[in-house]
Structures are given as C-alpha cells and as structure tokens.
C-alpha cells in the first residue's frame, strides 16, 4: 500500500505542477470572462448604418405617427452614454399608394435591389379599422435581409399602440377603460414562504435565476470539465510512460493494479483540487455579490463526493486506454466513445433542469456514467430530490466504478508493455475477459 501512495504522490504533483494544469486553471475563467466581453463587443459592433425605409400607407393616417416615432427614436435611443451609435437610425419616407399593388411592390423591390432604399413597408387600408377585413388587414415588410429584425420589432410596437388606440376610438370605446381591462398579468416565480427565527413570516424570495439555472448548470459543467481535463491527462502520462519505457521499470517495482490505483487516486485528487479551487472562487464571487447563501454547503459536499467517484470511473477508463495504445494518436478512436458517455448528461441537461423529477431525469441519474452529473444537477434545482436517490446512486456508481477499475487493471497488466500496433476494442475486451 505504501507504494500506491508513492505513485499517488508523484502523479498528483506531476499533474498539479504541470503547465497545462495552471493553464487550465487560469484559462477557464478567462474564457468565460472573454466570452462575456466578446459578446459585449459584438453587441456594440452591430451595423449602425442608417436604414432607409419606404412606407406605403394605404390608410393615409399612420405615416405621420410612424415618422414622429422614428424621429424621436433617432434623437434619443440610438446612442449609448458616451454618445456612440449603437443602433441604426431609421429614416422613413412616405410613398404614395398606387392602385396596382403588385406593380408598386415590384417597383419598390427594384429600388431595394438598387440600394436606393433598405426596405419598404406596405400597410393595408383596413388596418386601423375595428371591423376585420382579411384582404386589407395586411402590414408587409419587404427586404433582402430577412434576418435583420430590428426594424420589424420596432415597427410592430409603434404600429400596434397606434392602431389599437384608433380601433378603440372607432368603436367608441374609452381607451383608458379598455386598456385597464385588457392589461396583461405578470406571474412572479417565487419560492416558499417560511418563518424566521423570531417567528415572523419571511417574505417569499423571488426564485432566483441563479439558483434555478446557473448553479446546477455550473456544478455539472465543473464536474464535466474536471473529468475532461484530468482524465486525458492521465491517459497521456501513461502513454508517455510506455513510450519512454518507464512502464517497464514501474512494473518491475509495483504490481500493475497498485500502479493504476495510485495513478487513479492521484488524478482524482487533481480533479478534486480543480473543483475545490473553482468552488472557492465561485463562492468568493457569490459572496461579493451578496449571494453566497444560494449555494448550500450540503450540495458542495455531495458534489465533491460524486466528483471523486466520477473521476474514478472515467479515470480508470482513460487509464486503460492509455495502457492499451503505444502512441497518443492511436488513442483518439478509443477515446471517442468514452467522450460521448461523458458528454451524454450535457446533452440532456436543459430538459433535466426544467423537469428535475421527470422520468428522463430520474432514469438518467441511475445510469452510472451519468449519475454524478445528473444527481448533482437535480439536487441543485429547487426543490431538490428525495434524499434516497443520491444515496441509492452511490452503491450503484461504486459497483460500476469497481468494474471499471477491475477491467482497467487487466487491460493495464496486458497493455502496459505492449508496443506497436494499437489494439482494437475487441482485443481490449478479450484482455478484460481473460485477464
């Protein structure tokens, strides 16, 4: 057992001291911060060129309102605090309606093609009336850039307000009364009411998006990342040991199973280190934002426990692959199915967060390779899951982990000294079965 510890210590230090570990440690938050910054930059980098829109107002009463709203918007809403343009100005011009609608639309389309105008709007004669008329109720926006929806969105709001008010007038309904009557309701998404220590009823907090989504999602991602970083690293170390003929010296000193065990413990400690560091960082940030109590301690403990078991399961598989191949490039085809297994929970994470007690979430969390991420995610989504589930998950995972370690141990013994042609999955299965 002493030798297992010797291997454990070397493996842990070798990984934690390696540049790639430090880079990962720094890169992950940098990438996150970077993506936020890039999104901001991209957000400000929108096309702010003016949009010249021709309006064919067949009602004859809407253009002035549109023009007025556009001018107001151009004056107030298209620059940021520093006075820089962040949105395109809308320049609307009126085009007298012609009787031949099709011909006029063709003519205006041609003007769009000639870059004379950016787009045009055709408003049907009946739009402002309270009595529907299918033929004349249309508002049509014609452009050659259907994905640029900025103007449509704006026009929709402006026209709706104006048109609805006019329809009320026509129907002789007092606008204020009707608006009051049809005002929308806004459902607040709240947690449960509780009684505090002094016996007062505590205000129900608005169920924070942070707990409902960010925290479980973050937990799963963290676990996923730590396995994805440490597992292949372990595999690579083993391949290097094979290539450098270190493996030969090692098996002359320590039984292969103990060797693998030491490495597995080492890599598990590495991934727990990674998780702990990020959790500590996350807690620090949450505390600064006054939201530290959103992450319950009990979940952190569960997460470390599950993280460790996940690492043992996947670590032994990655280790076995490392022992089976002679070159890192030979490992790619074998790593592929393992990665899919690893990514599986990520694929279903959104439906699982939305329905943490649904059948998909339930059964997925009892599929051992997915159990760690699924359980941790579901526990983090309020109101959590019945306690027996995460507890029942542990023996199941341990069983699977034991199988992985046992199988990997056999692959390790056979593969560690094998050089040359990479084995097929079938060969590896044979090693596992025959020992």
């Amino acid at each position: 057992m002493n030798k297992v510890l010797v291997v454990f210590k070397r493996e842990y230090l070798a990984q934690v001291r390696s540049k790639s570990f430090l880079i990962t440690l720094v890169m992950m938050p940098l990438l996150m911060a970077g993506s936020i910054i890039v999104q901001k930059l991209v957000g400000e980098g929108v096309d702010t060129k003016e949009r010249r829109i021709a309006v064919v107002d067949r009602t004859g009463v809407l253009f002035d309102a549109i023009k007025q709203s556009a001018d107001e918007r151009n004056a107030t809403a298209i620059t940021n605090k520093e006075g820089r343009h962040i949105r395109p100005p809308f320049i609307v011009t009126s085009v007298a309606p012609k009787v031949d609608i099709a011909a006029q639309q063709l003519e205006l389309s041609q003007r769009v093609r000639n870059k004379d105008i950016s787009a045009f709007v055709d408003i049907g004669t009946n739009v402002t009336r309270s009595e529907p008329d299918a033929d004349a109720d249309f508002v049509r926006y014609y452009s050659d850039s259907p994905t640029d929806r900025e103007f449509i969105r704006w026009l929709n709001v402006v026209l709706s307000q104006r048109v609805i008010a006019m329809r009320f007038d026509e129907a002789k309904l007092p606008a204020g009364v009707v608006q009051g009557a049809i005002r929308p309701i806004d459902i607040a998404n709240l947690g449960l009411v509780s009684v505090d220590a002094e016996g007062k009823v505590k205000e129900a907090e608005e169920a924070d998006r942070l707990t409902a989504f960010i925290v479980p999602y973050g937990f799963s991602m963290l676990m996923f990342m730590s396995v994805l970083v440490s597992g292949p690293q372990m595999m690579q170390n083993i391949v290097e040991e094979k290539m450098q003929r270190i493996a030969e010296v090692l098996v002359g000193s320590i039984p292969p199973f103990q060797l693998m065990l030491g490495k597995l413990l080492g890599v598990t400690a590495v991934s727990l280190t990674l998780i702990s560091l990020y959790l500590a960082g996350g807690y620090f940030v949450a505390q600064k934002m006054g939201k530290a109590d959103l992450v319950p301690m009990s979940q952190v403990v569960w997460m470390l426990l599950y993280g460790a078991i996940a690492m043992i399961m996947f670590g032994s598989i990655f280790g076995a692959i490392g022992a089976a191949v002679s070159e890192i490039k030979d490992a790619q085809s074998l790593v592929m199915p393992v990665t899919i297994l690893l990514v599986l929970p990520i694929f279903v994470i959104v439906p699982v967060i939305q329905a943490p007690n649904g059948p998909l979430a339930f059964w997925m969390s009892f599929f051992p390779p997915a159990t760690p991420m699924m359980m941790v995610t579901r526990m983090a989504v309020p109101p959590g899951i019945p306690m027996w589930q995460p507890i029942a998950g542990i023996p199941l995972m341990l069983l699977f982990a034991t199988f992985c370690v046992f199988a990997a141990g056999r692959v390790f013994r056979v593969g560690l000294l094998m050089q040359g042609k990479p084995p097929k999955i079938g060969d590896i299965a044979k090693w596992v079965l025959r020992g």
Binding site: A14, R245, E248, V249, S253, L417
Partner: protein, 299 residues
C-alpha cells in the same frame, strides 16, 4: 544459492517462438553476460526473469522463489532504453524509484552514486536537460539505488563514450564487490570478456553458449592466428586456412582442422615479411560472429 534458475523455459509471441527450451543457472554473486544478435531473445529472457512476461512452459526461480509478479524489491532493473520521466528532476526521479522499491530514505545513497558517476551537479536539473550518456548513467543509478541483490541491466553500455563506459564498468564491478549478482546483456564483446564470470549466448531463441569465457574458448581450441604482415594479399591463396580477416593494421586467420600453425608460418614467411605471429584462442567476438555471422550480415 543461485540467484536465477531457469529450466526448460519456452516463450512464444503468436507464431514466433522467442525463447525455446532454455535452461540457465546464474549463481549468486556472479556477473553474468547475455550476448546474442538483435532479436534473438535476450530481452525476452530478461523480461521473463523480471516476471514482466510469463513463460509458456518451464520454470523460473529467482532466489529460489517462483513469485507470481514482477514487482520485487530484490531486483533492480534497467530496461533497454530511456525509462526516466523527462519533466522530473534527477533527484526526484531517483527518490521515486527508490521508494517504489521500498527504500524510503534513499538520500545518502543517491548522493553517493551521483558523486561516483560525476553527476552531483545535475541532481536538481530536469531529466530532459541531460545528454544521452548522462541520462543512461542516471538510469543505471535508478536501477541500483535501492541496493537490490540482483541487478539486471539490458544493454547498459549502448551509446556510451569510452570514458563513461569505463565509469559504468567500474560501477558494475563495485556492485559485484558489494555482493550483488549482476546480469547484463551487451553487444560489447570486449566488455563481456573482461567483466563476466560467465557468458550466455542466445541465438534464434536457443542457448548456444553458456559458461566461463575459458570454457567457451576451450571448445573452439587455439585455431586463430593474429598476424602483422607487410603484404596481407599473400593470405588469400593460403592452403589450410578457413577464414581470413584483414583489419588493416593486422590480420587474423582461422586454421582448418588439423592444420599445423608452424607450417603456415613458414609458408607465409616465404612470401612476405612477418612482424607479428601469435597463435591465440578465438575472441568472444569471433565466436559470436562464427555463430551468428551470416544472419548478422543479412540484417
């Protein structure tokens, strides 16, 4: 007490028989040389002694025991090439290997070995900064630092310059002096001749030589003559000579069965000036070439 006893050992890889019906006894405290052409089964034999490979049939005992796995603290092992973590410091990698052998306070031993091999300044350097020769010496230290009773060295001299070769040779001799048994494989015949108590040669998976140098040479008799001649060309048409080898500065001929050396001398002396004429037993090198010559040339 014998360090290693092998009897009737056979090992195949697929259709290839790497070692066939091999029996070998390595007495404790001896230096045993393994020679043979590349691919003839030396490393397989060594790995079987290490229990890295299991024999298909036959029996291998190390210190009288048939242990089930390679891991043993009593044997130090230097594989054929490399075997060191590139990113680790010399001191750390040696400590790691020593601890793996259950030798938990190796500091003094490491210092002593590094000093002896002239590597003290490199203790805190990373392995990747070492030259090939230095790395090889470090690897040797890794194999012996835990004071194993049996040291197995696979090609310890390959790629070493003459100075380092001498250093390593002295180190091996000192291991023997301290009571260790040493098995090493080598292509350096003169090293094998000078250092080994016994020599074992394997060819195409089978044992072809085994014994002391003297006993091996005895089986070949004194059929070799070393010459230094003014005109080496006259050897070509000589009667009763099996084999002529011209090294440039001197020549070596092998006599056929029953040919008298004296008669050859008088024939040669009649043809050219003779400045050296020495009747000798064949060197290990010659014996090796006689056994494996055609194959070695082909490869």
């Amino acid at each position: 007490m014998n360090a290693v006893e092998m009897s009737g050992v056979t090992k195949s890889f697929g259709a290839v028989t790497a070692v066939r019906d091999l029996s070998l006894v390595v007495p404790s405290g001896s230096v045993y040389g393994f020679i043979g052409p590349n691919g003839s089964g030396k490393t397989t034999t060594i790995r079987m002694i290490m229990r890295i490979f299991y024999p298909d049939s036959g029996d291998i005992r190390v210190f009288g025991e048939t242990h089930s796995q390679a891991a043993t603290d009593r044997i130090g092992y230097l594989p054929e090439e490399r075997g060191l973590y590139k990113k680790m410091k010399v001191q750390d990698v040696l400590t790691f290997y020593a601890k793996l052998k259950g030798f938990n306070q190796p500091g003094a031993e490491i210092d002593a070995w590094l000093a002896r091999l002239g590597l003290s300044d490199w203790a805190n350097k990373r392995v990747e900064t070492l030259s090939k020769g230095m790395a090889q010496k470090i690897q040797f230290v890794a194999a012996v630092v835990s004071r194993p009773e049996l040291v197995i060295l696979d090609e310890p001299f390959s790629g070493l310059d003459p100075v380092n070769l001498d250093v390593l040779r002295d180190a091996i001799v000192s291991l023997k002096r301290d009571g260790s048994t040493v098995i090493f494989s080598t292509h350096d015949m003169s090293a094998a001749e000078k250092m080994c108590d016994q020599i074992f040669m394997i060819y195409r998976g089978e044992k072809v030589l085994d014994g002391t140098l003297a006993s091996i040479q005895d089986t070949y008799g004194a059929d070799t003559i070393r010459l230094r001649l003014e005109d080496a060309g006259c050897l070509s048409s000589l009667q009763g000579v099996d084999h002529v080898k011209d090294f440039g500065a001197y020549q070596e001929i092998r006599l056929g069965d029953g040919v008298d050396a004296q008669r050859i001398l008088s024939t040669i002396a009649a043809r050219t000036r003779v400045s050296l004429f020495e009747v000798a037993r064949p060197s290990l090198h010659d014996i090796f070439v006689r056994i494996a010559g055609t194959e070695a040339q082909a490869s």
